[in-house]
Symmetry: C2
Subunit: 340 residues, 2 copies
């Protein structure tokens, strides 16, 4: 994977140091401004007018085994809600000028009446219950990776300057935690969290499911694509393909919560260097997300106890990226205001 | 001081719980949405289209005594920079649709050629070096409080839905730390930080200056207005008057860093209950800010290591307030998407 432009990064660091602000006073926004410049290949960076979110929706066999506080019927209902612009992330995206596309990758529902463009890339109805069977066949994994990659390419071709991946799928924190456990070689107990809010019994079941799944996958977890097949899901594979394609095309990505970061970790395993194209929007309450971010060397911009998913934490952080851009573009240089 | 509307707060909490999101999934943004609703007296809250920042500029006698990494000549230069729209906070404010007004309260410069509306309310040229003399006379304190109050009233009359106070003045973290030390009964060592970046020797001088100032003020620190006279400055008194007038008028305020929060603590001492009208935008690296926020029961939305002042941390947090508003206004109710 090609890295972001080092010469532009150096120019951005130099400009940052020359601004009419105390040294280091812009803190994280200064670092972010350098990253944005380098990934967009331009210093000062252009205004971020075209930011795009793709929500990858899919169901998970584990949802029928007591790992979630909510029933799987929520997934298609939320897909329909996004299409009417009334999901949580829809509201945030509208407030911050981010476009939203929803793709049904593996929702366990026919989604009758939903536009063809949403369902056209469906890989299957629900992914396998990972403690009992593989999530996907190898062919389905390849297909899902391709669907995600094509989704990124389409958004980039249409003008995306910054991409975000979102998720919708009851039970999706379990396979995501599995990707992190596999990627980092950690046991279930260290990566499992409460998702949208399971109780203690649910948390124990989630750990059991994950333990069983990791044991079942065995040595296949040493390969990141095999890990998606054994322990992931079609929507997670599509998200991984989307993140890989963004890095490949040299387009920056703002990551969201556990789902997005588990896929970023998987992308980094598949194509080392991908993570240089990613920044982290929001710290999840899920332990697996922080573990994966540490591995990727990323620190989230926000920590607001959100556990909504959908891409919401990343969309909420978009104005901070715009703040960083504005500072590097518009602040006077010290040499301009204090002529010697 | 009247509290924000409890009935509207209750309605906002009820609406929040009924949204098509997992219970508690909106985290801090959910709490913020309740606060915005209550302070604006409307649920769901209106769009925040009119957000206004007033920057109170002033110099400080202590700046000539080695407590700052920068010379006092920066203060008038930055006032001029704000007027050309090229200060740090100017860039952020433009990016996020926040209007900016700069008032020269006590800049130690004639600011020749600067518009009359900026300098018309000047209280004096520089405030006293607080380890050697009072910052102000009692009359000047009263005048500065009134100037700040009138500034808030003018912005509110012009349509402000949310107010922010900003600061500009080399040396201003020293009198601000003094207000916090006095307000909380803490010694200099616990409240002093590095401001815009003093070295170890500068930090020791800052502690000495503050120790001497606190000893000089003596029992006058038990009265918040006397504290402003002895240990504050004209710009800090004006900021305090601004915050008091906002709370009095029932208009919410997003606080910035140490300067803004030190004045909020002083406002709360003068008129208990004022702090219910304030939310905290950004955690400062200055220890006194966190101490004062704890006392006020406020937790910042952002923690980005900014130490720019000017109101920048609060302006950077404005989009989060808009996010909170958008979520409570626009997200579907669970009853709408899952009819029973």
């Amino acid at each position: 994977m090609n890295p972001p432009d080092v010469l532009v990064a150096a120019a951005a660091r130099e400009r940052l140091a020359a601004l009419a602000t105390p040294a280091g006073a812009l803190g994280r926004l200064g670092e972010l401004a350098v990253w944005v410049s380098a990934t967009l290949g331009e210093c000062p960076p252009p205004l971020l007018e075209d930011v795009r979110l793709v929500v990858f929706a899919g169901d998970h066999g584990v949802a029928a085994h007591g790992v979630s506080a909510y029933p799987a019927a929520i997934t298609p209902a939320m897909v329909r809600t996004f299409l009417t612009g009334r999901g949580g992330v829809s509201a945030l995206a509208r407030a911050h000028g981010v476009s939203v596309r929803v793709l049904d990758i593996a929702v366990d529902d026919d989604l009758g009446g939903v536009p063809e463009e949403v369902t056209a890339h469906k890989v299957r109805r629900g992914s396998g219950a990972i403690h009992l069977e593989d999530a996907l066949t190898a062919e389905e994994t390849a297909q899902a990776l391709r669907v995600g990659s094509e989704a990124a390419s389409a958004e980039i071709a249409a003008g995306a300057q910054l991409l975000i991946s979102g998720d919708m799928g009851i039970g999706n924190t379990t396979p995501s935690a599995a990707l992190v456990a596999a990627g980092l070689g950690l046991p279930a107990t260290e990566v499992v969290g409460r998702g949208t809010g399971v109780d203690d019994a649910g948390l124990r079941r989630k750990i059991e499911v994950l333990d069983t799944a990791l044991a079942r996958a065995g040595a296949r977890t040493t390969d990141p694509v095999d890990t998606l097949t054994a322990l992931g899901s079609a929507d997670l594979a599509a998200t991984t393909g989307y993140l890989l394609a963004a890095a490949e095309a040299g387009v920056p990505v703002l990551l969201d919560g556990l789902i997005s970061v588990a896929c970023a970790l998987t992308a980094e395993r598949i194509a080392p260097g991908s993570a240089a194209w990613y920044a982290a929007g929001h710290r999840s309450t899920e332990p697996a997300q922080s573990l994966a971010l540490d591995k990727l060397g990323l620190e989230p911009l926000l920590d607001l106890d959100l556990r909504l998913g959908e891409g919401s934490g990343a969309v909420a952080a978009v104005p901070l990226v715009r703040s960083a851009v504005a500072l590097l573009r518009d602040v006077a240089l010290l040499s301009e205001i204090m002529p010697t």
